[in-house]
Subunit: 122 residues, 2 copies
DNA sequence: TGACCTGGTCACACCGAGGTAACCGGAGAA
DNA sequence: TTCTCCGGTTACCTCGGTGTGACCAGGTCA
């Protein structure tokens, strides 16, 4: 009952709740290129709303994955940067991303087959 | 513009939308032990509702990660089993799960520090 | 006869993630 | 003077994922 899968899944689920959302990994991947300012991120991810960018960055900052540096100049300047923890996340994330890239076609194929088999009766 | 991060993130996001939900990975991890019947899964994951178990299994089946075998006996018997694709997903998932287990404390610590620093002003 | 097992489906309600848009404050530009 | 930029915050609304509970068919058991 206390097999590793179970424990792993709990921690994994907790982490997924955080980084598995719509934006976190996208932001992390952009930030992986180097530090960025708020509006720089916004320009690189045009589809994100200002609110969600703020919220997601706060969440990542809260988790210690991203650091936030405010320069009290005029106009104010805020830089976001991956922390070491954030950097270390890239490796396993890339592993999963590679799986995703390698298997996304198989998934789409399976979906098409499934939809063809089950969708026609509608 | 067409850097690997971007493409990886797209496929990754698509995969996350599927397996990043509340139940998929839990079911996959249980199914990793071997084939299970519907109510077996329900007993091993007491907190899941019948509806969500059905829906999640359908989704996993649609993606070709899980196979569904109906034995038309009385009472009917339905076995669920990981496909090869489902098995192959375990490796990168475990990598991420291991990261989660290794860093969940660091995350909690960062969260506490963040909450202590920002929560007091409320 | 009626309760219960099997594996589901359906209708309904809820809640929280996410989007939209307005507003802020201070400064420079037109 | 008014507009714009920067980095947000806030109120409001929508929408989809999730939970609840009823219901289904067919057979067995008490």
């Amino acid at each position: 009952m206390h097999d590793p899968n179970s424990f792993g899944c709990r921690a994994f689920t907790a982490v997924l709740q955080r980084i598995g959302d719509k934006w976190s990994l996208l932001i992390v991947s952009v930030l992986a290129e180097g530090p960025k300012r708020f509006n720089e991120l916004r320009r690189e991810i045009p589809s994100i709303s200002q609110r969600m960018l703020t919220l997601t960055l706060r969440g990542l900052e809260r988790d210690g994955l991203v650091s936030r540096t405010v320069t009290p100049s005029i106009p104010p300047r805020v830089d976001y940067e991956l922390t070491e923890l954030g950097q270390s996340l890239r490796k396993p994330v890339c592993a999963l991303a590679e799986w995703a890239m390698a298997n996304i076609d198989a998934i789409h194929t399976a979906q098409s087959r499934f939809d063809r088999a089950n969708g026609e009766k509608v």
